[in-house]
Symmetry: C2
Subunit: 179 residues, 2 copies
């Protein structure tokens, strides 16, 4: 099984090292990890960002499944590129898995406007409050199109590098594929 390894990991200073560690964990379980930075970027006339888009899309099309690192990134939600990729893989009918290294509910990660009694943010926008770790579309996509979101029991010390949740996803995908 080929697994697309989505996440803000590509923005780490040691992104290549993280890709290598994730591929090694996949290999331990007999899976092939496809990390975005591993792909061949075409050398055509398109802007670099468009070439990266095409290369990542080609990797997703090759993959049978996705493991999305949904750890909150620059706000209460997951990295937006990762969320796009999760949606894309769900839309193409691939198997979806994901983990976040922050166990708190979405509600608890959004600064609230006290006047609203805590139900709304400073812009007067309602804060989703279903006890889920991120927007309901993301969390239930995992429930419906793969395996439920993996969360740590307590906060981890290095949320952008901890791979326990990732390994749990790999293990569960392997078990799912054997059913």
């Amino acid at each position: 099984m080929k697994v697309y390894l989505a996440g803000p990991d590509v923005f780490l200073p040691d992104a290549d090292g993280m890709g290598k560690r994730k591929r090694e964990i996949c290999a331990t379980y007999g899976l092939t990890g496809l990390f975005p930075l591993d792909n061949e970027i075409a050398t055509d006339a398109l802007p670099t960002s468009a070439r990266i888009f095409h290369a990542n899309t080609a990797l997703m099309r090759q993959a049978d499944a996705i493991i999305a690192n949904l750890t909150p990134f620059r706000g209460p939600s997951a990295d937006s590129g990762t969320v796009y990729e999760l949606g894309y893989m769900a839309g193409t009918g691939k198997l979806c898995a994901g983990y976040s290294n922050v166990p708190h509910s979405y509600r608890d990660k959004v600064p609230t406007e006290p006047v609203s009694g805590g139900s709304h943010d400073a812009h007067g926008m309602l804060i989703e409050d279903f006890g889920l770790a991120d927007n309901l579309m993301i969390v239930h996509a995992l429930d419906m199109f793969g395996i439920p979101l993996i969360l740590p029991r307590s906060p981890v010390s290095d949320p952008f590098r901890d791979l326990e949740g990732f390994e749990a996803c790999v293990r569960l995908l392997t078990e799912h594929a054997m059913k």
Copy 2:
């Protein structure tokens, strides 16, 4: 053409009114707008959040296209639920359109860590710097699977309610469909 109307609009205090305005603009151009709050939520045993997920997914499957409101929401990127839906529609091969009411580049919306010379954030994570308004996967998905992201020439006074970019998407989808 049925168009799924994705966006953080559903979190506005006057969400129903916004849905009505968007559907009316669609109707002016001969399109049918499908707004998430219009759908019938099943009354089965599932939790409310899962029923909303299923209802939204059913609306997306009915739709021929999506117009995603990608105005930054609780951070430098678009609302994560909206981004998931954009990815899902791209994955199912539907026509994709989107607008943001904030014209600035992603790079300019992320607080930087001065020591890095402005290339990295406070967590040491690289800040994407391609001059795009959001993550490259989102912006190029629109280029490749529909019409390019619509941005205002200058900041608008009420980014969560301004519908000029939305109307531009409706008009361009109509023209695209006639090609």
